[in-house]
Symmetry: C2
Subunit: 632 residues, 2 copies
């Protein structure tokens, strides 16, 4: 194969490549991260680049490689000569701002974080150790131990890495017996993982949410608790868009598990690199990571065979993996930093859900609460301070925009709000960061569905009404479609179309969630109106209108004040666990105390699912507020 | 430099070498281990090899390189051409048999080892795990954990290495849920360090004694407790013959600490390799190591700066280092095997002494006992079940034969018993393994001193009596000397001579021990006769006659039935700690409960030392049994 040189502009970074390599991969090697919301599947168009010189070959057809405005999709273009590639501003990933810092109810934040030192996963303290004398002959390590435990009484039993033990005698004596110690909580034991001369440098920790479709990393200053998050698509999407497909991939390819591990690790390390660069933080100063994710994602991240999750009775390989050192996991932070993973309940109810329960504070009250976390899977937890029951349904990745051509990741340029006015035949769009509309994110898709249904462009069965009086409705080779955004509408660079199959995917997703909630309530013997608080977490962030979620029949028709968007509770729980020892303990209690209901074993689930495949439902009587509105 | 080829016979192993390399080092690289009892200092003559072809250059003078019978000392000969080197049987190290398996009083063995599973440092068990079902949905790790803890209730809290967690799902399912788990005790937590399919292979552990001059490794079958030990000279001797000189070396040379670490590690790994070869054991099946040694030796082995030991108040860097994984230490056994180190009391009273107290069982009785451990340092512990006080004196390495030209390591060919008959002017020798006498070991030196003193060849001040009527006494350029063994006497290949300076070294050593014992007793307010049991441990093994030790004034003149040789108690304690959890706990209690008396701070120590520089003592009244014998 020929060696080629590819230069990326702006910046002029050059990297050599072989004929046949994907531009997307070449860019990654040059540490230029492109958006590729669909994971490089040629669907989303967000990896569009411009070829200033040289030529490329299409991976599939020429047509699939071509992007709007004469660009090419980096995921579909193969190196064929030396080339100069321009990365448009909208394609460069540095543009994705923080959208999803962990949010916490004030009561919860107070409960875990109000103490001065709530027991972070790792901490850095400056200690003045009295020098040994003839009457105080405690050895160096025991001397340090004594004073560290005096400063943090919960740092016990306290041990030390060999590396630190080697440095201890000279650091103590060269630094007049003042030393900066970094200690990490490895659950059964506290480890001194770093020693240095004063002054103490700022220390950071990570809260990480590993979702099937989306990955979020938040860097947190461990002194102030302040942090900043960045997120991206889970790069594993190229190996399958849900957990089952990825488990199949990992089992059917000899290096499959390792490929999945590397994909997510690259994601995390890239996000981490951005955060570190922005905040000017050394890797050694990131001293702990708290991770929440579903069981499959956590297993892939750790390189653990996930096959028990796939086979009945669908158990995770480990509910509570040991706290590991970052070097073992492959996270590019302090090599000995503790990496703590939120405990799972079952194969399909992971540590993201335990973290979610923690973050909502629902176990602090007698009120019955329902947490609904919608990602690629939908999980729901019902309970209060005395009991918790959970279930999981395969919502599919439609709400995260995966597998839907007009969809995109909830970053700048994504349409998060959509309202179609049939009178004017115009759409009112809210675009994230007020940029030109590039695609529509999960929230926008739900709003679009509700809006089209209201306008009559969709019937109650979710079929696009071909008789609807707008040129937006048309029949394509693939079936009926509706033009959500015309080219040029609010500056859109290309037309955005929703297909009949997309609608069906979305309806299946919402039906799965609704059926899950219904069966869970039935099994406990409760009615929807017994739920005092419905916490909606996950993909939709704060953008979705509660009325819309009820209008499409995803959520039960509760008084609206009982429904609350709580954002990314997985990340919020990971954040709590990063900062509070009590939170880490509570997480374990929550996971251990939760009863798992296998919906697949409940015959009523299939019935409820089928009944929910309407907008809002076959039984409209379950939605009295909608009946009242429509005058039925 | 020219590349040469050196062939070693018998065996024909070839290795390339550069001009100027020492033959001793070339042999080591070829994995041919030569005896070099003095550590390669050109003193002991035990590295004698024969040059069959080719030439060598002397490191120092030609004379220093030449050995008896036309051989050369491998430590003094530098490569100068291609060469064929013959290693005589007596030089090859494979010949050193097990001399020092751990010995234990029956009461102690019973106390710690009588249970069926006394809680070894690491254990291997075959476990049948019930497969998961719809009603038993415990995850893989928690499932294994449950059954391991059921089988060994003290294995808790139980965690697992990431490596094992990765293998767990497939090993369970491919092996019908029967699995062989290896778990190691890391003090605060038990780790699953290895998983395999059945059947379970035999597992071994190591008990290791790291002395300043001598290193012993015992491989123990963890099922039966049976073991076999091999020992060698500590290769660090080349960097200094006592701990202070080696600390100085480590501080004054940029790579000094690392050189010391590598030297002892090579020692251990070579001994280990021999044991593994003999018993046909894989490295992965050696699953734990229990180490006792003085604080300096332990620090060098771990690569820890030992300077706090040298400076007042002479504290060790750590009294109780964490349990480390073998890969961290560099021991060539299972990489995750726990390496547990016996806790130190003070800079000069190490874990070898805590181990010794444990092994004697002296803390089980109300009787006042005195443990005297004589190695390169002399340490003494006085006490009973209620209290323990210890002290240390710099005995010097003379008792281990280091620095004495006629001396050798206590291996085959070493003279362990010596009795000079002035009437016949003949010496009666006991030679270890009944081989031809090559040198005299520590025990032999003490017996020779006692014997010459009795015969009148030494006066009470330890001076060689030039008027003694034997041609064995002569004056050399270096002063008076006594021919202990004539060439040919009992087949001796060379003459063995003791010099006036050797005698002085030996007297200093015994005087330090005696003064230490005396001051320790005085400080506690006890008289020698209050000691019910005197345990003599260390260099002398079982070979020294108790009467002799009293006759030269090393030990107090107690009724002989109160004095007991207890062999290598450091090794015996390490052995107990390898096999028993209770022993490991007790070791920590012993070390923490011991009061250290700094003899250097006691003015009476110097007085006592000077008074003890006679045979047996300036104050003969302290030795009533000797007075009675000599009719004084």
């Amino acid at each position: 194969m020929s060696q080629r040189t590819i230069r990326f502009e702006p910046g002029g970074k050059e990297v050599s490549a072989e004929d046949g390599e994907r531009l997307l991969d070449v860019a990654a090697r040059a540490e230029i991260r492109l958006r590729a919301d669909c994971g490089g599947q040629g669907i989303c168009g967000t990896c569009r680049v411009e070829l200033e010189s040289g030529s490329v070959q299409p991976l599939g057809s020429e047509e699939e490689m071509q992007a709007a405005d004469g660009g090419v999709l980096a995921c579909q273009a193969l190196v064929a000569s030396d080339a100069v590639v321009r990365v448009p501003e909208l394609t460069a990933v540095g543009e994705i701002p923080a959208l999803s810092e962990a949010q916490l109810p004030e009561t919860v934040a107070e409960q875990f974080l109000s103490m001065e030192l709530p027991g972070p996963l790792a901490r850095r303290i400056e200690i003045e150790v009295p020098p040994p004398t003839g009457t105080d002959t405690e050895p160096d390590f025991e001397r340090l131990q004594r004073d560290v435990v005096r400063a943090c009484p919960d740092c016990t039993p306290l041990t030390i890495t060999l590396e630190c033990l080697r440095e201890l005698p000279s650091l103590l004596r060269d630094g007049d017996f003042t030393i900066v110690a970094t200690a990490g909580d490895f659950r059964t034991v506290e480890h001194i993982i770093d020693l240095a001369s004063p002054p103490a440098r700022s220390a950071y920790g990570l809260a990480i949410d590993v979702g099937t479709s989306t990955v979020v990393v938040q860097a947190v200053n461990l002194q102030t608790g302040e942090g900043r998050a960045v997120s991206t698509r889970n790069a594993q999407i190229r190996y399958g868009d849900d957990v089952i497909n990825r488990i199949v991939w990992s089992q059917e390819h000899p290096e499959g598990l390792e490929q999945l591990r590397e994909a997510i690790l690259d994601n995390l390390n890239l996000l981490l690199g951005e955060l570190r660069e922005e905040e000017n933080v050394e890797a050694e100063d990131v001293i702990g990571a708290s991770i929440a994710g579903n069981a499959t994602m956590v297993n892939f991240l750790l390189g653990i065979d996930a096959r028990p999750i796939r086979r009945s009775p669908h158990i995770p390989p480990a509910a509570l993996p040991p706290v590991l050192a970052a070097r073992e996991v492959g996270l590019e932070i302090h090599p000995e930093a503790p990496v703590s993973i939120s405990p799972a309940v079952a194969g399909f109810v992971g540590g993201d859900i335990s973290a979610g329960v923690l973050a909502t504070g629902m176990t602090d009250s007698e009120d019955i609460s329902l947490l609904v976390d919608i990602g690629t899977n939908g999980e729901m937890v019902l309970g209060n301070r005395d009991w918790l029951t959970c279930a999981s349904c395969s919502a599919g990745p439609a709400f995260e925009g995966v597998g839907i051509e007009c969809a995109t990741f909830a970053g700048p340029g994504a349409i998060g709000g959509y309202d179609y006015d049939p009178e004017a035949d115009e759409a009112r769009l809210s675009v994230i960061a007020d940029q030109q509309p590039l695609g529509i994110c999960g929230t926008g898709l739900v709003e679009a569905m509700a809006s089209l249904s209201r306008a009559g462009a969709l019937d109650r069965g979710g079929r696009i009404n071909l008789k609807f009086s707008s040129s937006r409705v048309r029949e394509s080779a693939a079936g009926p479609e509706f033009v959500l955004v015309r080219e040029g509408e609010q500056g859109a660079p290309r037309e955005l179309c929703i297909k009949q199959t997309d609608i069906e995917n979305l309806i299946r997703s919402k039906a799965a969630v609704h059926a899950g909630i219904t069966v869970l309530l039935q099994q406990i013997g409760l009615r929807p109106e017994d739920v005092e608080h419905l916490y909606l977490a996950g993909a939709f962030g704060n953008y979705l209108n509660v009325d819309t979620a009820v209008a499409i029949g995803m959520l039960p028709d509760l008084p609206r004040e009982r429904i609350e968007f709580v954002g990314n509770t997985s990340l919020a729980g990971a954040y709590l666990a990063l900062l509070s020892r009590e939170a880490r303990r509570r997480l374990v209690d929550i996971a251990e105390g939760m009863t798992y209901l296998e919906l697949g074993d409940e015959p009523s689930f299939t019935e409820e699912f089928v009944a929910s495949m309407f907008i809002p439902h076959t039984d409209i009587a379950r939605f009295p507020s909608l009946m009242a509105k429509s005058g039925q």
